[in-house]
């Protein structure tokens, strides 16, 4: 039985080091081809005609004028369920033309008549939700009533996060190209290379096996690109009608209106505690929207196992549908919970760090959380800088500190891979996964090369195509655990096969061989060795080819991380502008394969978190039912000026290594809302309940508090 377990610290040559991502040179030179960069022979450009109404009956669609427009090659209607559009941007018809602007002209020439119907797009005031409020999800754990009876302090608060969008820089879409009547090449921008053919096949009425999916790079997904969309189906159908390949990528307006959003959460919370800070009970009433579909219930109280009663009501709105947004429901749950606990600390005049540590046994992995809290506190100089609520310093710039903690699962998904060692000594790995920019390619190559005792560039890696063995979608932070485990198993098996081939020549038992430094040698005896090239030549003409598949619960991957973040902000109480001075992230993630790209994930997640904490909101207009900011001037992302000093501390060492590999993409994006919101409250002396913390909201909170000082 092969021993697949991860190498000990002393044996690791590449695993855990800081390695440059192997596709970095492609990306920085512009040579990396995204599917939105493709140009196929005779390719047409597609455009979708979209509803300007949030709710309306479609009375008629007249495509006759559009069909006669210059360059137009095909126009088709899109089936609107029950003849009623349900959000602005819903698809009505699609056109393809020889040039992009000609397709836009033609889309504008499609005449649609509507009968507007009542819509509902703003859920912030629950009293107005009426019958848009659906069945509440109500739940009790433990005995919260007892806690409230015994309480010496009850803190009440309100916390809200709006709907935000994914805003992937490469918009959603595809290039579709038919080969004959029933074979399709699908160049999709996706987080799910292996799983896309099966999703689109029924719409195209061809077998999934006839669909070839290929993607070298994807320009961002964040949970919004798990399969082909309606517009990809339309693109493929139009490509067939026109007999030409079709590029159908969303423009930015459509991208922000319909291609994914994160559900909102509004929560009224009561927390019961003793005067010494012992947390006793939780009660919350919350609501939120994910469009017209349910969006799940944020798991509040979050991380802290407080006896609770909670009631969450999904509210249906006529906005584009929600999609998984990096760590679904966690940022909302985290923000509500850690904000309420910080408010409790303020009511008790306690340092929230002390409150957290006092109650830390309410968290799983309490010792780890405590260690991370103390490390983060050291890095941000918490004990030196923290003050009671309201910065006592004179002047209009007020500084404050805030903290938060989070959790995520992140066990590896199931991935398969084909691992080949050739007689000419080359090594190839084929794996139907995808690299979202998280560093997946590099991780696979590191595991393979480390296992074989070879340099990184000795491994030829093929991913991003459904002709390779299938791997799971890249979501839920499951990729690194999956691809690293399956690669490890394959590499170990392939190496064992090679050992059997070369053992006679070394006059040794195959079980007594090892691959080190580009050689195969008798364990611990470098005098009995041969080079990797010589060893491979012993195969004759037949390569070693191994198909491997990791097991969902093997020891190579694990689940359940902690993580702590702290923020230091300054707030100008005259303008209401919040500035991030510094943010610190302390993150455990089990065995780290590539420290460099792991740190990048955490930096990136903190920045994305700063972005949604300070700037991002899908602003809906009650009257027109439209999104008011479907563009990047007014749907703001944090820029390089906005992010302050950032510091990442990864938890490393034997305690982490022995856990195995755990996913990292999601956990560090969860805490920024709470950490920053708490820091602002600490700075200005009052809670600003709603994210993003825009100047108007900060000033409104200050006014409520009763002035500027």
């Amino acid at each position: 039985m092969a021993d697949y377990k991860w190498p000990e610290e002393s044996k690791k040559t590449l695993i855990g080091k800081r390695i440059n991502r192997i596709d970095g040179p492609q990306k920085v030179t512009g040579r990396a081809k995204y599917n939105s960069d493709l140009k196929r022979p005779g390719m047409l450009y597609g455009k979708i005609v979209r509803s300007p109404y949030a709710h309306a009956k479609v009375l008629s669609v007249d495509t006759s004028a559009a069909e006669k427009m210059p360059g137009v090659k095909a126009v088709k209607l899109i089936d609107v369920p029950k003849g009623e559009v349900q959000w602005v941007g819903q698809e009505i018809a699609a056109v393809v033309a020889t040039e992009e602007h000609l397709a836009e002209d033609a889309a504008r020439a499609v005449k649609v008549t509507y009968e507007p119907l009542p819509h509902f797009v703003k859920e912030d005031d629950f009293a107005k939700a009426g019958d848009r409020a659906t069945q509440a999800d109500e739940r009790t754990e433990g005995d919260p009533d007892k806690g409230f009876k015994e309480a010496e302090v009850v803190t009440e608060g309100f916390y809200a996060m709006p709907v935000i969008t994914h805003c992937t820089l490469e918009s959603h879409g595809s290039v579709t190209e038919w080969e004959g009547e029933d074979k399709l090449n699908l160049y999709l921008s996706t987080q799910n290379v292996s799983g896309s053919a099966g999703q689109i096949a029924p719409n195209l009425k061809i077998p999934a096996t006839n669909i070839h999916v290929h993607q070298d790079h994807v320009g961002g997904g964040f949970g919004s690109k798990f399969g082909p969309d309606l517009w990809d189906v339309q693109g493929a159908l139009l490509a067939k009608m026109a007999g030409k390949p079709v590029k159908m990528f969303l423009d930015r307006e459509a991208e922000l209106m319909v291609a994914g959003s994160r559900p909102s959460t509004f929560a009224k919370v009561k927390v019961a505690a003793k005067k010494d800070g012992t947390i006793l009970a939780w009660d919350s009433v919350s609501w939120g929207t994910g469009g017209l579909t349910g969006a799940g219930t944020p798991g509040i109280p979050y991380v802290w196992k407080i006896p609770y009663h909670r009631k969450h009501t999904p509210v249906l709105t006529n906005i584009g549908a929600t999609r998984a947004w990096r760590a679904p429901n966690h940022p909302q749950a985290c923000y509500v919970t850690n904000s309420a606990l910080e408010d409790l600390a303020a009511d008790l005049k306690m340092d929230p760090l002390d409150l957290f540590i006092k109650n830390i046994e309410l968290c799983d992995r309490a010792a780890l959380y405590k260690e991370e809290l103390l490390k983060a506190a050291e890095l941000i100089e918490w004990k030196k800088k923290w003050h009671q609520r309201g910065d006592p310093a004179p002047g209009h710039i007020k500084r404050g500190l805030g903290l938060s903690l989070h959790t995520w699962g992140g066990r590896g998904h199931v991935a398969e891979c084909r691992f080949t060692i050739n007689p000419d000594s080359s090594v190839a790995i084929d794996l139907g996964s995808q690299d979202l920019g998280t560093g997946t390619r590099t991780v696979i190559a590191i595991v393979a090369a480390d296992t074989l005792g070879l340099p990184l560039n000795a491994v030829k890696l093929n991913i991003g195509d459904n002709k390779y063995p299938p791997a799971g979608a890249s979501g839920g932070s499951t990729t690194v655990g999956g691809v690293s485990a399956t690669t490890r198993r394959a590499a170990v098996d392939a190496l064992e096969a090679l050992f059997k081939v070369v053992a006679p020549a070394l006059n040794a038992d195959p079980a007594n061989l090892e691959a080190v430094g580009g050689k195969i040698q008798v364990k611990g005896d470098s005098s009995k060795s041969m080079s990797w090239k010589q060893a491979c030549a012993k195969m004759g003409v037949t390569p070693i080819s191994i198909n491997a598949k990791n097991k969902p619960n093997d020891e190579l991957s694990n689940s359940g991380v902690s993580g702590v973040q702290m923020a230091e902000v300054s707030v100008d109480i005259e303008t209401g502008i919040v500035k991030i001075e510094k943010m610190v992230a302390v993150q455990d993630v089990g065995l780290i394969i590539n420290l460099k790209t792991a740190e990048s994930q955490v930096y990136g997640a903190m920045i994305m978190g700063i972005s949604y904490s300070l700037f991002e909101e899908k602003i809906m207009d009650e009257t027109s039912g439209r999104m008011l900011n479907p563009n990047m001037e007014f749907y703001k992302l944090a820029g390089i000026l906005d992010v302050g000093k950032l510091q990442v501390h990864m938890m490393t060492g034997p305690d982490q290594d022995k856990r195995g590999v755990i996913g990292l993409g999601e956990p560090p994006v969860i805490s920024p809302g709470a950490a920053i919101g708490n820091a602002v409250a600490n700075a200005i002396g009052i809670r600003v309940p709603n994210l993003p913390l825009t100047p108007d909201r900060v000033l409104a909170a200050l006014e409520k508090k009763g002035g500027l000082s």
């Binding site: 820089l169 990048s600 994305m608 563009n631 990047m632 390089i640």
Partner: protein, 215 residues
């Protein structure tokens, strides 16, 4: 919050695409090139105005030192010309309205948003795209610094950042961190690679000019 880039970058004269699209009556025309749709909204052509379009017109773009001849409508942006009519796809189409910088190219030494320049306006100018930086198969020091500092994730904004960095360092090889932040404030990244980018600019500045002499 404020995002600025070198104010010189913004077209002071010439027809920006946004102005073109807005078709505001009474728009002051100071350019010798005008599209017909614009003309219809203005008082009438001045004697020295050349009318182009709406049909296709011959356009020659000088890209990375070589001329490229195209036949395109005057409304086609430089970005669409690069991506759809030629094969310079390093510049990306993201916001398509001069906000995010993913389409940044260098035009006569200055960084511009290629989505906000009409191809006809770019004639006669030296256009440098990201593809030219590693033309001989070797990474430019800025690109090497981006790789070394992991200043990219999904990579879609990366070519734009590389070009904005080049424009910055060409002008000022020893930027302070504040100048780095100002110089790159017109580019946006969704994955959050700014920490690596800040480091990369410093590394590249050192490689290009032997480094900063003081803080």
């Amino acid at each position: 919050m404020a995002r600025s880039r070198d104010p010189e970058v913004k077209p002071k004269k010439g027809l920006s695409r946004r102005a073109f699209l807005s078709r505001s009556a009474g728009l002051a025309i100071s350019t010798p090139i005008i599209a017909e749709a614009e003309l219809a909204a203005s008082a009438g052509p001045a004697a020295d105005v050349k009318i182009l379009g709406p049909g296709k017109v011959p356009v020659t773009l000088q890209i990375n030192g070589k001329p490229h001849n195209l036949s395109i409508e005057p409304r086609v942006t430089l970005l669409d010309a690069l991506r759809n009519y030629l094969d310079f796809t390093g510049a990306k189409k993201v916001c398509d309205r001069a906000v995010c910088g993913s389409c940044t190219v260098i035009m006569d030494g200055k960084p511009v948003y290629a989505c906000a320049v009409l191809a006809i306006e770019a004639q006669g100018k030296q256009i440098t795209t990201v593809e030219s930086l590693s033309a001989e198969g070797k990474l430019h020091p800025i690109q090497a610094a981006f790789v070394q500092n992991d200043a990219q994730q999904c990579g879609y904004c990366t070519p734009g950042f590389v070009m904005a960095c080049k424009a910055l360092l060409d002008k000022n090889p020893n930027p302070t961190m504040e100048q780095v932040r100002e110089g790159l404030g017109g580019n946006l990244c969704r994955c959050g690679t700014y920490a690596g980018i800040r480091q990369a600019v410093q590394t590249a500045g050192k490689a290009l000019k032997g480094g900063r002499t003081n803080g």
